[in-house]
Symmetry: C2
Subunit: 107 residues, 2 copies
DNA sequence: GTCGTAGTTCGACAGTCACCGTACTACGCC
DNA sequence: GGCGTAGTACGGTGACTGTCGAACTACGAC
C-alpha cells in the first residue's frame, strides 16, 4: 500500500450540503458555542489544545467532529497539530446574518 | 378562593432573560423549526391544531412549551384556543439577523 | 531508538429528550 | 344538564448525547 503516514480522511460537507438544522444543532451546546466564539474572536486558527473549555481532550475531539460535520468549522493538519477555523464565508453565504446574530449576543 | 376560570400562569421569559443558547436549542429540532417557519410564514397567529406537523397533540404542546420557555413564541388565550405567534421583535432586537438567517435558509 | 506531545478512537455510563397514550381541565354549544 | 373540542399534565419508554478514562497512532526532538 501507499505511504503509511496518510492523514485521516476527515469528512467535510460541501457548502450546498450544509443544513440550517445541522448548524443550529451544532451551535446548541455551551461547549461548542464557546469553541465557535473563541474561533470567531481570535480570527485565527486555533489548535485543539489552544481552546479553553472545561472538558477533556476526547470530549473536545467529539465536539469538533460535530462542528466539522455540520460544516461550521474546518481543520488544517500540520504535524500532529490540527488547526481549526470557522467556515465563516460559507455560513455567511448560506445563512446571512445567522452567525453574526449568534456571536453578537451577550449571552 | 377567587374565580375558578383563571388561565394557567404560563411562564414567559422577559426579553433580557432570553439566551442565545436557549433559542438555538429550541430551534435545533425539525418539528420546532417547522412550527417556527409556519408562524413566520403566515405572519398571523396560529392555534395548536392549526399547525401541520407530524406529531400528536401532546407532543405539539411539549414543543410549544419549549419554544415558549426559550422566548421564541408567545401565546394568547381565547376561549379554549391558544393562538401562538413569533416574538419576532424581541428576537430581532437581541440577536439581529439570527431569525432571518434561519428562515431564509432553503433547508 | 526513546520520549513527550497532539489528537483520535473506543467502550461505558448517566442524563436528557422526543414521542406516545391516557387522563384531565376548560370552554362553548345544544 | 350533556356533549364535543382545544389544549395541558402525567407516566413511561426508547433513543440520543455529553462526558470521561484508557488505549492507540502520528509526529518531532533528543
Amino acid at each position: 500500500m501507499a505511504k503509511h503516514g496518510t492523514l485521516p480522511p476527515l469528512y467535510y460537507p460541501a457548502q450546498e450540503e450544509i443544513t440550517v438544522e445541522g448548524v443550529l444543532r451544532a451551535l446548541a451546546d455551551p461547549v461548542r458555542l464557546a469553541i465557535v466564539r473563541q474561533l470567531a474572536a481570535s480570527d485565527r486558527e486555533i489548535s485543539c489544545s489552544g481552546l479553553t473549555v472545561p472538558v477533556t481532550k476526547s470530549t473536545i475531539t467529539h465536539h469538533l467532529s460535530i462542528l466539522r460535520q455540520a460544516g461550521v468549522v474546518a481543520g488544517r493538519q500540520e504535524g500532529t497539530t490540527r488547526f481549526n477555523s470557522l467556515r465563516r464565508t460559507d455560513l455567511d453565504t448560506l445563512f446571512p446574518g445567522l452567525l453574526d446574530g449568534v456571536l453578537a449576543a451577550p449571552r
